[in-house]
Amino acid sequence: MTRTARLVILLTAVLLLGAVGTGAVLHAAHRAGQRDEQQADGPAVRTGDVSLRPADGRTLLVRNLAWGPHRDEIAAVPTGDPDGPRTASGVKCLRFHAAAGTAVCLQAVHGALEDTYRAVVLDAHLRERHRFPAAGIPTRARVSPSGHLVAWTVFVSGDSYAGTDFSTRTALVDTRTWQIEDNLETFHVVKDGRPYHAADVNIWGVTFADDTRFYATLATGGHTYLVRGDVATRTLTTLHANVECPSLSPDGTRIAYKKRVPGAPADAPWRLYVLDLRTMRETATAERRNIDDQALWADRGTLVYALPGDYGSDLWTVPADGTGTARRLMVSAVAPAYLG
């Protein structure tokens, strides 16, 4: 083949491949544009004041996923009418949680070269009090019942050439002093009664008991454990195996969590369980589908969690004691928090 022929072939291919690539980008951009238009059959969303100390009764805050101009904003609905109109706050978060007048909002910052992330601590009117850079893609966020401590977990994929080996970073902040524990992996680990070191330790999914004690997941050597953490002594102590994304009940006696169940398919390994911390007895909930979320306690006996839905995800609810059936709480929502 002559040099000219090769160059002609190359040029033709560049044009063809360029057209395919450009077409894909334009198609995706058009689709992105559609997501900003109000969804006809979706929930009504209007702007308004959203407060963490609601005057008119108990309120559920969620990240609104319904298509339209308020997609991804934190929105409020009365707990009695979750399908009703949503009040959008104008604050966009990927992950969100709030308690006692303090909220934590994990946001993406779209830079020129790449995305970065930050954790923003908000006051009762969702105004920024403090911000911290976050090390990776946000996945979990929690505020302690008093509103004094906040914690968040992000994914990092450490080394760009390996690329696919995910790990997590969990940070914890005291909002009274703005002291930050950048990486809970530096806490002392006590596993089965003995000090434990390993390079592959990962921590995620903090849930607070009070302003000192918390629970979280610790993973090492291919296993996961429920750990009890102590902020004062900087320790993590293993309590129970095969527990991910724990969520402590309001009375502090039970942990709702994701359990890897034997026999489940590799792409859907988790079921929603509840662990009694006094007896260490596990109870399967009536939700039989694969759960990949840190559940939330709506009250003493009800769990709320996200499942994939038509617009990202929907919120579902199931009794914590293994009875009843799962039912859908609201569509197009994720990252719930109950206030008031």
Binding site: M1, R6, I9, L10, A13, V14, L17, G18, V20, G21, A24, V25, H27, A28, A29, R31, A32, R35, H110, L113, E114, D115, Y117, P133, A134, A135, G136, I137, T139, F155, V156, S157, G158, D159, S160, Y161, A162, G163, T164, D165, F166, T168, R169, T186, H197, A198, A199, D200, N202, W204, T217, A219, G222, T224, E244, A266, D267, D292, G312, S313
Partner: protein, 431 residues
């Protein structure tokens, strides 16, 4: 034992590459066109694969809504199967009158096909399978590609040629994430668009290989008498394995493996650097970029230096630089300058060893076994590094990260001394 070395039949390349380069200040001789073509193929392919790598975590978490916590879904495939595939790729490429281009093309093609397949992968196991096939393609093409670079380049220019190739390769790796995020920005989370563009770029890489890399990169007939007569029959597997009976090959493989056993993986080094230096967690993703940038800048000059002072000597010196990097991590010197110093040393280590080892291998292996030879030495080193990772992880659990590194550093020092004795005999004549 000095083996017949190969010359490119590309007359332009041979003439320029073989031209004496003695006058100081004279512009360095150009690298053969085949090497530039292979460099371009690698650059384009790395843009494609690093595009995917850059957005994959985001795609899994934000796009698919999955949590891949503790899901190291490539580890096993990466190392065990990867090594076998690499050996097979190297050997197959040598058979049938050197099918390097065919086998490399198969490898590049396999990876290219995986990019659009990512559009169909919505669960972690399927995603893991597609990525494993992608990685298989990479394993298949590595040895034939390095063999082609060896065969196309005059022996005294190989250090520089591999340096140019590695620099182009790293350029692609650095550009990939930028292209990916530009597409994501234009499409607001259009991961499918990223995969389609990545697939188009990968297809372009395969096309560059098909159009601009010659099918037969035969060495200069005068320099390779082995090509005449019955010896021209395709090398058998036994012959390929018999490469280890040659002292230079055995020595080089042993040395690369010995040093590989004490080479801590990038991930561990960055983790230690972050812990020791109290580096803010959000700066962590920048560490690999630092290493890559230094590698990119120094690959060509250090490759050229290797041609002058001897590849083996520079390969050893590179590990001395790595030892310095370990020392800085272990020292009480912390803060941003210390981190920068470690990344500078780490990038220099790669620039002084990665392409340089391939160039040293080329000189130790006969032309008809270039593929198998490159695969053998490269796989030995990769497996040794994998063993080091396993041991290092265990040592970390036992003693903590700092002490594990101190022990590894001591091991590296001992290995370097041993290697300096093993490599001292002139298996290779520096140009």
């Amino acid at each position: 034992m000095y083996l017949a070395d190969s010359r490119s039949t590309d007359s332009r390349a041979t003439r320029s590459a073989a031209a004496p380069d003695t006058r100081p200040g004279r512009r360095p001789a150009a690298v053969p066109g085949t090497v530039l073509a292979l460099g371009a193929v690698s650059l384009v392919t790395d843009v494609s694969s690093e595009m995917v790598t850059a957005v994959l975590p985001l795609y899994v978490v934000a796009g698919l809504g999955l949590s891949p916590l503790g899901f190291g879904f490539l580890d096993g495939v990466n190392n065990g199967v990867g090594a076998l595939v690499r050996l097979a790729g190297g050997h197959l490429a040598d058979r049938g009158g050197r099918r390097h281009k065919t086998v490399a093309g198969l490898g590049y093609g396999l990876s290219a096909v995986c990019k659009p397949l990512l559009l169909l992968a919505h669960t972690l196991p399927v995603l893991g399978a597609v990525l494993a096939v992608d990685r298989t393609g990479k394993g298949l093409r590595t040895a034939p590609r390095d063999a082609m670079i060896s065969l196309a380049t005059a022996p005294e220019r190989r250090g520089r040629a591999f340096g140019v190739h590695r620099a182009m390769d790293t350029t692609g790796a650095l550009l990939g994430p930028l292209v990916a995020f530009a597409v994501l920005r234009a499409t607001v989370d259009g991961y499918d668009a990223v995969f389609v563009v990545s697939g188009c770029v990968a297809a372009l890489g395969v096309l560059l290989l098909v159009l601009f890399v010659p099918r037969r990169i035969t060495p200069d007939p005068a320099g390779a008498p082995a090509q005449a007569g019955p010896a021209a029959a395709p090398p058998t597997l036994r012959e390929a394995l018999g490469l280890l009976r040659r002292r230079p090959v055995r020595r080089l493989t042993a040395c690369a493996s010995l040093l590989g056993l004490t080479t801590v993986s990038d991930a561990f080094l960055y983790l230690l650097l972050q812990r020791a230096g109290d580096l803010p967690a959000h700066l962590f993703p920048l560490l690999p970029l630092g290493t890559a940038a230094v590698f990119l800048l120094l690959a060509v000059p250090l490759g050229a230096l290797a041609d002058r002072v001897g590849r083996r000597r520079l390969f050893l010196a590179g590990h001395g630089v790595l030892l310095l990097a370990y020392a800085v991590v272990l020292s009480p010197w912390h803060g941003a300058p210390a981190v920068a110093a470690v990344l500078l040393l780490h990038g220099t280590f790669y620039a002084a060893t990665d392409g340089v080892l391939a160039a040293a291998t080329a000189a130790a292996v006969p032309a008809r076994h270039q593929g198998a030879g490159q695969a053998l030495v490269g796989t030995g080193q990769a497996l040794a590094r994998f063993v080091c990772s396993l041991a290092f992880g265990a040592a970390w659990s036992l003693w903590g990260g700092q002490r594990a590194l101190a022990v590894t550093a001591a091991g590296l020092a001992v290995a370097a001394v041993a290697v300096s004795f093993l490599l001292r005999p002139a298996d290779e004549v520096p140009a």
